[in-house]
Amino acid sequence: MTTAISVTGLVKTFGPTRALDGLDLDVTAGEVHGFLGPNGSGKSTTIRVLLGLLRADSGRAVLLDGDPWHDAVELHRRLAYVPGEVTLWPTISGGEAIDLLGRLRGGLDERRRADLLERFDLDPRKKARTYSKGNRQKVALVAALASDVELLLLDEPTSGLDPLMETVFQECIREVRAEGRTVLLSSHILAEVEALCDRVSIIRLGRTVQSGTLAEMRHLTRTSITAETERPVTGTTELPGVHDVVTEDGRVAFDVDTDHLDGAVRHLTGFGIRALTSQPPTLEELFLRHYGDELAGAGAGDGR
């Protein structure tokens, strides 16, 4: 088996709202797959369909070679889920909730449970009602990570964690990947996805707008260049693939399509480069490109 999740043309409507509108998603076994999109783009709905909690209106979804709706119980033995908004039973302690969820899933690795509690610095004796959002999330994370499962479905699992715990989380996910397990990580924290994911799918308004490795996507983006030169730079705006040129006393700054980087740098050398900084494109920019038209609609974008 090489495909862990395969989704094609998934549609799910809630009354007049089209939450998923022909979504595609492919996750290869053993990879950490980033699932990116703004709030309300359909990430959680997709995950709920994959869990058999919601029934898709049309489209095909295959999860670990099974049907997420019909084979739900069997599939759930092989996966663990962390919801975006973790609600726990107020009178049940965190430790009890971890054991309960682990047992219902089919068992926990005791050693890993103890190790995770320590690393996440979680007091398992506290009743869930006294936990903060971050601590409730840790409970769900420990329960999921300590389970012996092949697939982890994580729905914005770090939205309540502090930076220290975020680092612990990233370590844990790297370990999970080293063990050959598969992770679908939904997020809108780009740095996290950049740090962890092999491949990414970006969705918007219930559709997949782009999918691939980070290297493949960077290909589609621009590099930011800032240069100080001996002579004032001229003619930059006429170069192919160059955008947003700003020139001021001996400094020039612009963005260039990655395909045209070579030409732009050659052009600069003709003016005697004193200093040159180039910033590789970030997911942030990938993101902005996909939501750029929304920003433009709001009057804040540059229309690209």
């Binding site: 759930h76 049940i92 430790g95 219902l104 479905l153």
Partner: protein, 526 residues
């Protein structure tokens, strides 16, 4: 110091725009029904005097209603018969109103959001108290209107309404304090209900023994108004003073605690789950056991009180020909007829428990707590069945507990030990009808989860109205044909036949099956 109170109070009134009128209209309805009935019952000369005599000599009646004061007027009789019921209704109205807008909101995190705006820390509690004060004023107006409309003296109705509002205000204050002390909305309800229960017992004990003990109970202060006879005002003032002091205490406590925290720190739990918790049924039982114990105990104790009154029924009824004809319609001996009414009432309460137990599944789903469980290897039917199991087995046990209480009360009061088994056996006859109502809740939960609570409660209310009140309104029997209690043999007054019970169980099973099937096919919704 009270910045934001007005806005919060208006918002609270808007959120309660259905609830509060329902409470107030319920009070007005009770007064109207009781006043019309009493005016009709006691219109004959001498009827009132014989009623007074019967009431004075009967400790059980005094325990459940109140001191036999002012029974020489029809208004006094109305107040006497209604007092404890309506006072409890008004106390609960005040409790729910204040708790909803203080601790329940705070627990849900809504208060925190509001407090970050231009809202003073005293504002939420002040707004909640204001709304409760308005509700109690509405009760006062409603009682005056209902009483006067029925033909009772206006001054007496004013005193009656004021006494009720006074009680409501005391419980408003008590709830405001409780909401500062404990951290959990449910705990506020528990604490205030316990105060109400103790108040009821102290008043009952004080009234029976004609001792000062009833002065320890706010319910006793209200009754000391003696509406329609003495129309005393100072007990109302006493209620007001106590209410103001309690609200003052709540204000002081607000200053001494953090948002979201109480004054009582919660204890730590277990680090590891016990084996018994780690199944869906174990989880459902853990979530529901507290409520089960409370309902079972409450219904068994009520049964005990009603059962203990059974031997006195004969004496009472001889003096009350109207009640006699009412009970005669049920056929069988007088005491058995009384027992039918008691057992049906307790079974309806048991059905209410069963419905809350099944609706807990909906609560879990709506709160998002079903999702993590259903994302494990737990199937939909198994998860839902765990809550259903508690609703079905629990409601049967609660029904039987009511039977044991009633039987025991009677056996002890009359010195006839074999009554226990007989009454317990009779109570079990009502279990299929209880299950059918639980089945309705299960079916609607499966098919239309958002409507589960309203439809289940309407079904129960229908059975209550048809079972206990239809005679009073003079409705035809066919109006209650959909109530399972209509088709249940009226044990112990009637001979029990198996067929209706088998049919009721079959319908209940079909409803439960439909619910399980539908839940398997639908989306989870919040």
């Amino acid at each position: 110091m009270l910045t934001g109170t007005g806005g919060l109070a208006r918002f609270a009134l808007r959120r309660d725009r259905v609830r509060l009128p329902v409470w107030v209209l319920a009070v007005a309805g009770l007064v109207t029904v009781q006043a019309n009935q009493s005016l009709e019952l006691y219109s004959e000369p001498g009827a009132l005097a014989s009623y007074e005599q019967a009431a004075r000599g009967n400790a059980a009646i005094i325990a459940t209603t109140g001191p036999p004061v002012g029974l020489d007027t029809i208004g006094g009789a109305v107040a006497f018969e209604l007092w404890s019921t309506v006072a409890v209704v008004v106390a609960l109205m005040s409790m729910f109103t204040v708790a909803r807008h203080t601790r329940v909101d705070e627990e849900a995190g809504r208060t925190e959001l509001l407090r970050s705006a231009r809202v003073d820390r005293h504002a939420p509690v002040t707004a909640a108290v204001l709304v409760a004060v308005l509700a109690n004023l509405a009760v006062l107006v409603a009682v005056i209107a209902a009483g006067s409309a029925a033909g009772l003296p206006v001054r007496g109705s004013l005193a009656f309404g004021a006494a009720l509002a006074g009680i409501g205000l005391v419980f408003t204050g008590a709830t405001a304090v409780a909401a500062q002390v404990v951290e959990h909305g449910r705990a506020v309800y528990g604490l205030v209900s316990a105060v109400l229960g103790v108040s009821f017992l102290l008043r009952a004990a004080g009234d029976i023994g004609e001792s000062w003990v009833y002065w320890l109970s706010p319910l006793g202060w209200g009754m000391a108004v003696h509406p329609y006879s003495d129309d005393r005002w100072w007990p109302v003032v006493l209620c007001l003073v106590v209410a103001v002091v309690l609200v003052g205490v709540a204000y002081v406590l607000v200053e001494r605690r953090d948002v979201g925290a109480g004054l009582v720190q919660p204890r730590l739990g277990r680090a590891r789950a016990p084996r018994a918790l780690m199944t869906p049924l174990g989880l459902a039982w853990r979530l529901q056991r507290g409520a089960f114990v409370a309902w079972a105990a409450g219904i068994a104790v009520s049964g005990l009180a009603f059962g203990a009154m059974a031997p006195a029924i004969e004496d009472l009824i001889v003096d009350n020909p109207e009640l006699q004809t009412y009970l005669d319609e049920i056929s069988g001996g007088l005491v058995d007829a009384y027992l039918v009414v008691v057992l049906v009432m307790l079974a309806l309460l048991a059905a209410a428990y069963g419905i809350t137990a099944v609706l807990r599944a909906r609560g879990e789903e709506a709160a998002g707590r079903a999702e993590p469980v259903l994302a494990t290897a737990t199937s939909r039917p198994r998860w839902m069945a765990s809550h259903l199991m508690i609703g079905l087995v629990g409601s049967a046990v609660v029904t039987a507990g009511g039977g044991v209480g009633t039987g025991l009360g009677w056996a002890l009061a009359a010195g006839e030990p074999d009554q226990l088994a007989r009454v317990l056996g009779s109570s079990l006859v009502y279990v299929p009808a209880v299950w059918l109502l639980v089945g309705v809740a299960a079916a609607v939960f499966g098919v239309a989860p958002r409507l589960a609570a309203p439809i289940a409660w309407v079904a129960l209310a229908y059975c209550v109205v048809m079972g206990l009140l239809a005679d009073q309104f003079g409705w035809p029997e066919s109006a209650g044909a959909l109530s399972p209690f209509q088709h249940t043999p009226q044990a112990p007054a009637e001979v029990v036949t198996g067929l209706p019970l088998v049919v009721l169980v079959a319908v209940a099973v079909a409803l439960v099956g439909a619910g399980l099937g539908a839940f398997r096919r639908r989306d989870l919704t919040t």
